[in-house]
Symmetry: C2
Subunit: 326 residues, 2 copies
C-alpha cells in the first residue's frame, strides 16, 4: 500500500527534498543546488533524480509513494500546478512544474502550493497548530507572508492568492509598502521594516545607541534593533513596541475575520524571542474587544528548518485524502 510521501521545497538557491512516512515522520532528507539558470526542465529532472536516490536510501519503493508535495514561490496557478513566473528563477515561465515532477517525472501524483501556504500547512498538520482546526500563520522576514487555515483546510481564495496578509492595511495613509499601498502591516511588522523604521528615526534626529552601529555599517538589521532594545535603548524599544503593536493589530483583525484558535509566528525575526512574543500578547490584550474573553493563543512555530519539506509532504497527504492529488 502506498503510504509514503515526498516533500519538495524549491528555492532559488537550493532544493530540499524529504521522504516521509504516513504520519509525516521524516525518514531521510537531501539538499541539492537548484541550478535555476539551466532552465525548468533541468531543475525538474534534478528533483526527480534526487527523489529517486532519496527513496533508495530510505528503503522505500517508488510504488509505495502515495503523493508528492511541492512548495514554490509564487505567482503560480496552483490549481493546474503551473509556475507562472519566479523572481529567483527567471527561466520559469508558465512551467507545468507539478506534472514535470509528478505524473511525468516520478510517475506519482503531486500537488503544487506556494511556499507560505506550505509552511502554514506544516505547522497546522504537525507543528504548533496540530490540535486546532482554525489557524493563522505569519512569516516575519524581508516581508510578511501569511497563511489561513479554516475548518481544517487552507483558504486559497478565488484566484489562489488568499492570505497575502502582509498587505492588510493597518495604518491608512501610513508608510509606503513595496506593493504600492500605504500602511500595510508589512511596512511596520516585518524584520526589514523594523530595521528601516529605526534607520528613519535615527536619521530624523533620534538619539540611540543604534546610531553608532548605523554610522559604522551604513544600515541596521532587526537583530540590531532587538539587541539594543533589550539593552535598554529607548528609541530601539519604541521601534520594537511598534512592531509588536502592528502584529497585535493583525491578531485582532484576524480574530474577527476567520476566528483562529491559534496565531502562529515564524521567520527570522522570531529569534527576538520573548521580547517580541510577550509584547504582541500585551498589545493584543490592550487592543481587543471587551465583549467576551478570547481564548486565542498566540505562539511561535515549532518545526524549524525542515518546515518546507514537512509542510509539502503533509499537504500531499491531506490532498490525497481529499482525492485532490493529480
Amino acid at each position: 500500500m502506498a503510504t509514503y510521501y515526498i516533500g519538495v521545497d524549491l528555492g532559488g538557491t537550493n532544493i530540499k527534498i524529504g521522504c516521509f512516512d504516513a504520519d509525516i515522520n521524516l525518514i531521510e532528507k537531501t539538499s541539492v543546488p537548484t541550478g535555476a539558470e539551466m532552465g525548468p526542465e533541468v531543475v525538474a529532472d534534478r528533483i526527480v533524480a534526487s527523489a529517486r536516490e532519496l527513496l533508495t536510501e530510505s528503503g522505500v519503493s517508488l510504488d509505495d509513494v502515495a503523493g508528492v508535495g511541492i512548495g514554490t514561490p509564487g505567482p503560480a496557478n496552483y490549481a493546474d500546478g503551473i509556475v507562472i513566473k519566479s523572481t529567483n528563477m527567471p527561466k520559469f515561465k508558465n512551467t507545468p512544474l507539478r506534472d514535470l515532477i509528478g505524473k511525468n517525472g516520478l510517475g506519482r501524483p503531486a500537488i503544487l502550493e506556494n511556499d507560505a501556504n506550505v509552511a502554514c500547512w506544516g505547522e497546522f498538520a504537525v507543528g504548533a497548530g496540530r490540535n486546532v482546526t482554525d489557524m493563522i500563520f505569519f512569516t516575519l522576514g524581508t516581508g510578511i507572508g501569511g497563511g489561513v487555515v479554516s475548518n481544517g483546510d487552507l483558504v486559497r481564495g478565488a484566484g489562489g492568492n488568499a492570505a497575502e496578509l502582509g498587505h492588510v492595511i493597518i495604518y491608512p495613509g501610513g508608510r509606503k509598502c513595496n506593493c504600492g499601498q500605504r500602511g500595510c502591516v508589512e511596512a511596520y511588522g516585518s524584520a526589514n521594516s523594523t530595521a528601516a523604521r529605526a534607520v528613519d528615526a535615527i536619521r530624523a534626529g533620534g538619539e540611540s545607541t543604534l546610531k553608532a552601529v548605523l554610522d559604522k555599517k551604513g544600515d541596521l538589521t532587526s537583530k540590531d534593533v532587538y539587541e539594543h532594545s533589550d539593552a535598554g535603548d529607548e528609541l530601539a524599544r519604541e521601534i520594537t513596541e511598534g512592531t509588536a503593536e502592528a502584529l497585535a493589530l493583525m491578531c485582532v483583525n484576524m480574530l474577527h475575520t476567520t476566528e483562529p484558535a491559534k496565531i502562529v509566528f515564524t521567520g527570522g525575526m522570531i529569534a527576538a524571542g520573548d521580547s517580541l512574543l510577550s509584547r504582541i500578547k500585551h498589545h493584543f490584550k490592550q487592543l481587543v474587544w471587551t465583549l467576551k474573553e478570547e481564548p486565542l493563543e498566540i505562539c511561535y512555530a515549532t518545526l524549524g528548518e525542515d518546515t518546507g519539506i514537512i509542510g509539502a509532504a503533509a499537504l500531499a497527504e491531506h490532498a490525497g485524502k481529499q482525492g485532490k492529488l493529480t
Copy 2:
C-alpha cells in the same frame, strides 16, 4: 423523496417562515409575531404550528421536507443548535432551539445559524454571489454584520464567531466602538456611525445644511446625511466619503485575507444607492496595491426582504448535502 426545505427567520418581533422547493424557489411564506415574552417553548411551538400550516397551504407533505434552516441572532452554540442568550428575547437561555423546532417539533432534521451568516449564505447560494466560490458579505445597519464564504462554505471559526467583520480595526486609536475597541470599521462605515459622525462634526462647529435638521429633530439619520450630500452639502459629502473610504479599506483587507471574487453589501444604508457604491469602488481603486489587476467585484445584495428565509432554506439544503443536518 424529501426535496422541500423550510426557512425560518427568527427575529425579536416577528418570525418569518418560508417553504421552498429543491432549487430554493419560494412556494409560500408567512409571518407571525414572535411572542418572545411567553418563553422559548411557546415560540418554538408557534414556529412548528405555523410551519405545518404553511406546508398544508403549499400542498407539501411534511415527509417531503428534507430539512429546516433557522436563522437567529447570537450568541449561540451553532454546532449544537443552542441559543445561549438573546438581547431581544431575554427568556431564551441555553435554549436547544434547533431540536425544539427540528427533530422534537416537526420531526425533521434542522440547522441553526446566526442571522448574518444566514443572509450571507442566501446571497451566496441564490443571490449576488451565486456564480462565485469565495465571497464577503457586509450588512450596513445599526452596526456592521459580516459573512465570509471560502471555497463554497461558510467560515465559522474556532468557536463559531468568525466574520465579526464590523470589529476589524481600520483606524487604530480612532472612534470608540460599542465593543470596547477603538477604530472599528463599524464606528465609521455603519448607518448609525455615518449619522453620528455628521452630528459630531456639526456640534464641533462644522457648517452644514444638516444643522437645521439636527436642531429640529435632535438627531440625524444616515438617510439625512446622504440626502444632503447628494444635494451638494460639503460637510455631508465629507462624511459620506469617510463612510465609503472605511468600507473600501475593508474591501482591500478582505481581498488580501480570503481573496473573495465578490464583496456584497446589504442593509438599510444601501438605499443610498450609487452615491455609496461608486464611492466605495473609487476608494478601493485608490487604496489597493498596484502589483496586479484585481478582478474583485463590489456590488449590492439582490434578495431583498426575504433574504432571511431564503438563506435559511438554502443553508438547510447545503447542510443536507454535506450530511450535517441533525
